[in-house]
């Protein structure tokens, strides 16, 4: 780990999408006009596919190395050098970032290709691909960053691109509002992230190792274990808690989850790429990246496990009542991210990252399938006006179903391997209620997913005749992407089989060098025997079956009336879920309205008091200058005029002397001479 292999080609993974973004932003409009949308598609998809190819090459190179030496470094240049802080623009490729790069460029590339068909009729086609490329660049910067500041640059970059793409159709006010909401809520998390970096750096500086380079942090972090820290917490706890708060913003966990459902205002490929497969997993990635730090803070891990598990169930219960096809998936994403955080919280980093990967496959597939449905229905997103699409959109249906089964954790689909692993890890390493929350969440997940499948693809079509007439299967770029992602949803989990089936787990072996820190926290006191795992897997399957039977009864066969279920306990649970537990309203009352009130009060203060003082000063100045003007006019000017008048009067008198008569002058001369003589005589005397 101390001597990473210097490899210069890693930079191209990052530079290519940046190049694509530059071309699309600077010349995109002209290219689109001159050569048509094909040119934009070629540039936009080409650069990401190029990155993917390089990444695959890097993977091949990495697998040649011994597992303990699988670290590559591409140090581009010294970024800045301020006091003790020295940072490079450097890219760090280890098994974890390798995996993320493959997901970002692989799934991202597929979504780019999908977008060529989905966004084909949009006039701002070039702008869309510019932002998509820029997002890929920022995400790759985030995952490949060698130090935390560079990671933060990527972290902010993905936030910016997310903001721009949510508000991509900016002519509608609600879209731009959703973009603003995402950006502002994320800002809270970013603030916490920066605070954490400052605290971490100051602590490391105190022990003589001022650095933010991740691989050096891993070495020096144990030195700050005894640092007293702030707010009554140890420094490690403080830093990790604030880092986690940053992660809750980016990864939409309680309490900062509110932006993600609104983010569905963006085009569907954006939801798939940014708000399901990649950006929202940045929080998971960051925590796994800094696993050595989090493992030192058991209190933080407990918080993470609790928040993750609570979010998993909380978001899943909201998903039950939503009617917008994308919003259901958004809550599902929040819920699944909660599973990943719960896994991180109990120290099962490998399962968190494993679920991150399988989730990227099946959730991207679900979103893109939903996009295909929306595309076929001409923009309709309300599931109450869908139904019966199974025959008309067979490819979409089968891929959607495969991804749904993966999400529900039905063996042998990919989600089963990862999610079941998480639930087992929660039981074997964590407190019982975490496991209970996750298991209940799994059942709810099955219910809302099959509700969605039945409402969308089964029964009779409930839309307009015009929509029914125009129904069409997705064009080939969309359909092929759906097939690839659907296939991955089925087979993507086979890289890590459950222990009771086989010890075959190359995925965990691959990531092992990253998760070397000893997991010393209390949650992992005892590992249960692996032979118990199979029973728990069966229990989880039973829960899945219950969820499916309920959904089937409510939405397919109709043997259970969904409406009467929602009326249970006066419909209080139904209303809570439908209104998202009133969290938005809570924020509106607690934050937005006080804030707006404060701004109005400050505006009033500004207008009345501050402006009043300024105007008073102005009036006083005018008065003082009027007084000064009076003094100037009558005293100063008076004196000057007096001198002038006196001179004029004297001149008027004296000019009479000059008569012009020569005789008079001569008399004058004579008189003067005589006068002088007389005076002299008198003086002599």
């Amino acid at each position: 780990m101390l001597n990473p292999l210097p490899v210069a080609f890693i930079r191209w993974i990052v530079v290519l999408p940046l190049l694509g973004a530059a071309i699309n932003f600077l010349a995109g409009a002209a290219l689109q006009k001159r050569f048509g949308r094909t040119a934009i598609s070629l540039v936009g998809c080409g650069v990401v596919v190029g990155s993917f190819v390089i990444a695959v090459g890097a993977l091949a190179g990495m697998l040649q190395l011994a597992p303990a030496q699988r670290f590559m470094l591409d140090d581009l240049w010294r970024w800045f050098d301020v006091g003790p802080l020295r940072l490079d623009i450097a890219l760090w490729l280890d098994p974890l970032s390798m995996l993320m790069v493959l997901i970002v460029t692989g799934v991202g590339g597929l979504i780019h290709i999908y977008s060529t068909a989905y966004m084909h009729d949009d006039p701002a086609y070039w702008r869309f691909f510019g932002w998509l490329n820029l997002f890929t660049f920022a995400m790759l910067t985030l995952v490949l960053a060698d130090n935390l500041w560079l990671m933060f640059v990527g972290w902010e970059g993905v936030g910016l691109c997310s903001f721009a793409l949510i508000g991509f159709w900016y002519r509608e006010r609600s879209n731009t509002n959703a973009g603003n909401k995402a950006f502002i809520v994320n800002r809270v998390g970013d603030w916490a992230f920066v605070i954490a970096l400052y605290a971490l750096f100051s602590g490391l500086r105190a022990v003589g190792h001022p650095t933010l380079v991740i691989r050096e942090l891993a070495r020096y972090a144990p030195l700050i274990a005894d640092h007293p820290g702030y707010l009554g917490m140890s420094l490690v706890t403080f830093v990790t808690l604030f880092l986690f708060l940053g992660a809750t913003g980016k990864s939409a966990q309680i309490p900062l989850h509110v932006w993600l459902p609104d983010a569905m205002a963006g085009p569907t490929p954006v939801s798939a790429l940014i708000h399901a497969a990649t950006m929202v997993t940045a929080g998971i990635y960051m925590v796994s990246r800094l696993n050595f730090l989090f493992s030192m803070a058991p209190a933080t891990l407990e918080v993470i496990a609790l928040v993750g598990a609570a979010t998993a169930l909380f978001a899943a219960t909201i998903g039950i009542t939503q009617t917008d096809i994308k919003r259901v998936l958004a809550y599902s994403t929040i819920s699944q991210l909660g599973y990943m955080f719960a896994a991180l919280g109990v120290g099962a980093y490998d399962f968190a990252v494993f679920h991150l990967m399988t989730h990227a496959f099946f959730k991207a597939c679900l979103f893109l399938g939903a996009g295909s449905v929306i595309h076929a229905l001409g923009g309709e997103q309300d599931m109450r006006r869908m139904g019966g699409l199974r025959e008309r959109l067979p490819i979409t249906f089968w891929t959607f179903l495969a991804a749904t089964l993966a999400l529900c954790g039905v063996p042998p689909f990919a989600g089963f391997m990862s999610k079941d692993g998480i639930i087992w890890a929660a039981f074997s390493r964590g407190p019982l209620f975490i496991w209970a929350l996750l298991l209940t969440g799994a059942g709810v997940t099955v219910f809302y997913m099959f509700r969605q499948v039945y409402m969308t693809f089964f029964g009779d079509f409930r839309g307009t005749h015009e929509q029914e007439h125009h129904l069409h299967e997705a064009p080939w770029p969309m359909a092929s992407v759906l097939v690839i992602l659907g296939t991955l949803s089925v087979v993507g989990g086979f890289v890590m089989l459950p222990k009771f089936v086989s010890d075959f787990a190359p995925f965990a072996r691959f990531l092992d060098p990253v998760f070397t820190a000893p997991a010393t926290h209390s949650l992992m006191a005892t590992e249960f025997h692996a032979h118990l795992e199979v029973y728990f897997a069966l229990l989880a399957l039973a829960v899945v079956a219950v969820g499916w039977i309920l959904a089937d009864a409510c939405y397919r066969t109709g043997s259970l009336d969904a409406a009467s279920l929602s009326g249970f306990a006066d419909g209080i649970f139904y209303r809570l879920s439908l209104n998202k537990y009133y969290v938005d309203e809570l924020y509106d009352r607690a934050v937005v309205r006080p804030y707006l009130f404060a701004t109005r009060a400050l505006a009033w203060f500004d207008l009345r008091i501050i402006d009043g003082i300024v105007n008073l000063a102005a009036t006083l100045t005018v008065f003082a200058s009027w007084l000064s003007g009076l003094l100037d006019r009558y005293v100063v000017d008076g004196l000057v005029n007096l001198a002038a008048d006196a001179t004029l009067a004297a001149g008027g008198r004296l000019r009479r002397v000059q008569t012009g008569s020569v005789n008079a002058y001569l008399y004058g001369i004579l008189a003067a001479v005589m006068l002088i003589l007389v005076i002299r005589a008198m003086v002599r005397a």
Binding site: R655, R656, Q658, T659, G660, S661, V662, N663
Partner: protein, 105 residues
């Protein structure tokens, strides 16, 4: 030189001549008359120069030389003065200095 003739006699002559000249300059309204008066004043000065030089052995011939200079100067002055008078006459058709008050301030 006749006996009994002293410096005082010359000075009195000179003073008389100067007064005559002065009165002529002050009273005459004719420009040519004024010029004549000036000649008298200059010659009164000449008499003084010569007389003082004669009665002061240390002076050699300084006074005489100065008198010659003054005569020469008077000639030049007369030329210019008469030319001015002629110009005034051509301009105003009179040489009466009292009528000529264009220099009045």
């Amino acid at each position: 030189m006749p006996a009994g003739l002293t410096l005082n006699h010359f000075v009195i002559l000179s003073l008389a001549l100067f007064l005559l000249g002065s009165i002529c300059v002050l009273t005459r309204r004719n420009a040519i008359g004024i010029l004549l008066g000036i000649e008298l004043i200059l010659n009164a000065a000449n008499i003084n120069y010569v007389a003082f030089a004669f009665f002061n052995p240390a002076a050699h011939y300084d006074g005489q030389v100065f008198a010659i200079f003054v005569i020469m100067l008077a000639a030049a002055e007369a030329v210019i003065g008469l030319a001015i008078v002629l110009a005034i006459y051509n301009h105003l058709r009179t040489i009466d200095v009292a009528a000529n008050e264009t220099l009045k301030g």
